[in-house]
Assembly symmetry: C2
Homo-oligomer: 335 residues x 2
């Protein structure tokens, strides 16, 4: 909008974005701070992203690096409800790092996935999540898969005094997300996986607000497409909308995030911020048992360590391998 075409003084004073600082950080690279009007967000998640990076995402040479929000906006969006203490509570863990694995591959039947969940749960994992690729496909429909897996996990932990929390993966439009939450709740489930950049941030935020009893682990699928700095998007923005835990590709795995990006992401997720509980960092993506010690040194104990394929490759030894992973994480706390 050409400024010369704006005749309304109030719009010029209160609505138009304002360049507040320009700092050269490298040859041809500038850090530019732009002040935006809170009112333009309409306090709605999609419109917030629209204002932060909508048209600017179309400029190939611009990255959205960080955002600072006033209290009014933080209160309106609400942040996480459970955070790390709520997640530890769900699995009866004290102050220690938590463990997680994933159910895959796609194409498996609900029965096969439930059997896999049983073997993983017997190894004593804190969390088992659906792979984010498990949606509502004909080979394992949500309504069949989730009750079977929930039952298998309950049975596996019935006699050892431990608790494993199963997180089904939500997908589809808002109607489908709501139905899936109700199906999950009927199985005694109170935590789910969701990929906000796949479902849309508006749908994610709506589901969070409507279900205060549920904890939400976010998945980064499609999050790389928009060139928003991962610490901002997966740490801060997902936290603002209500992520209790945030999955992201750990450095040195299958994906290209750097050590610095991972450190900054975890910092953004855990930092003191308004009255928000901390969002738990969930480094993942090709992690293996032999990296557990290093990861705990790097992230500390406020972390969920997610090993997926590394366990699934163990074949018939999957329960033992899982137990070894759990043991390595739990032992580390007293090291």
């Amino acid at each position: 909008m050409p400024l010369t075409a704006i005749s309304d003084r109030a719009v010029l004073d209160n609505i138009v974005g304002r360049v507040e600082a320009i700092k050269a950080v490298d040859e041809g690279l500038f850090e530019v701070s732009v002040g935006l009007s809170v009112a333009t967000s309409g306090m709605e998640a999609g419109q917030l992203f629209n204002m932060l990076f909508g048209n600017t995402s179309l400029h190939p040479e611009v990255m959205l690096k960080d955002a600072v929000f006033p209290d009014e906006l933080l209160a309106a969006f609400g942040g996480p409800r459970h955070g790390i203490s709520g997640l530890r509570q769900r699995v009866g863990a004290g102050i220690r790092a938590l463990t997680c694995s994933a159910l895959k591959p796609q194409g498996s039947s609900a029965r096969e996935l439930a059997e896999l969940a049983r073997q993983l749960a017997r190894g004593g994992l804190d969390f088992i999540k659906d792979d984010h690729g498990l949606a509502d496909q004909v080979y394992s429909p949500f309504a069949e898969r989730v009750p079977r897996i929930a039952e298998a996990v309950r049975e596996a932990r019935a006699n050892d005094g431990g608790r494993t929390c199963y997180l089904p993966s939500l997908s589809g439009n808002l109607d489908q997300l709501r139905r899936q939450v109700e199906l999950a709740r009927a199985e005694g489930i109170d935590a789910v996986l969701i990929a906000p950049m796949v479902t849309g941030v508006s749908a994610f935020h709506t589901i969070v607000r409507e279900n205060p009893d549920f904890a939400f682990m976010t998945h980064p699928s499609m999050a790389g497409a928009a060139r928003i700095a991962p610490p901002l998007l997966l740490g801060k923005l997902f936290r603002l909308l209500g992520a209790d835990a945030t999955v992201f590709p750990n450095y040195g795995g299958r994906f290209g995030y750097s050590q610095d990006e991972c450190r900054e992401l975890a910092k953004a997720a855990l930092a003191r911020w308004s009255k928000f509980p901390a969002t738990v960092p969930v480094p993942a993506g090709g992690m293996t048992l032999d990296r557990v010690a290093e990861m705990l040194e790097f992230y500390g104990l406020d972390v969920i360590v997610l090993v997926g394929g590394g366990l699934l490759s163990a074949g018939t030894r999957i329960t033992q391998e899982t137990a070894a992973f759990v043991d390595a994480v739990v032992r580390h706390q007293t090291a």
Copy 2:
């Protein structure tokens, strides 16, 4: 998922992605064709994106260049319903290029936007759309803005025998999108603007399917530039989900799309594809009257030319300037 961890033959044969070709196209740059199972999409828009580029979007050096779909999938998603002929019909135009402008700035009251719409409509525009930044903010709530603007546009064209079609911008979650469509329908409106990467593609596709009488113009906000090729995302994928017209940044404007990208995008939007009507290309982003002739030479007559700020800058001469724009486009057809 390590392939060695998959024991199910049917999964290996039918579900696992398959590298079908690798072609070196430049120093260190390869074109890789990957075959994916249609079943993994669950025939749901979000999950389709999840499969096409979900985790791969996290690799900074990979771009999603193109996708080819089988008839089964095309039929399930459905494509546009109105396309260029439906849009021409709405405004009573023959085979000629169409004209469009946008209502802004944000922060204006509903009354001010309606007055602007009146002046633009008097100039004889085919389409007037809300700026994609107009959501449901306190300064011009959707429920107040849309009836006022619709009325102003109707009045402006009441006596000159012409038709101007007003497209309000939809935003928010699926509940809000549905309410907004109903509000629009009550005003006799049958075309809207929507930004699928802001609302989420699932919500966009749901609204399209639920409202076969409405035409949908898509906006590229949050669509990025560098990671999913614009011809694929804004041309092909938005068309698959039901876009009747697709706004994109024209080359040589405020944004960085190249001439080749724009040509490919328009080609993807207009190409023969299944039984889908053509999606109309809407080049935009800092366009001015003096580029009309060049744009029509470049895009041909199956196009909606969108001039926003270029008209709004005309101040009190806005109606005359609009009429000149309309005249330049309409005259071109007989040139």
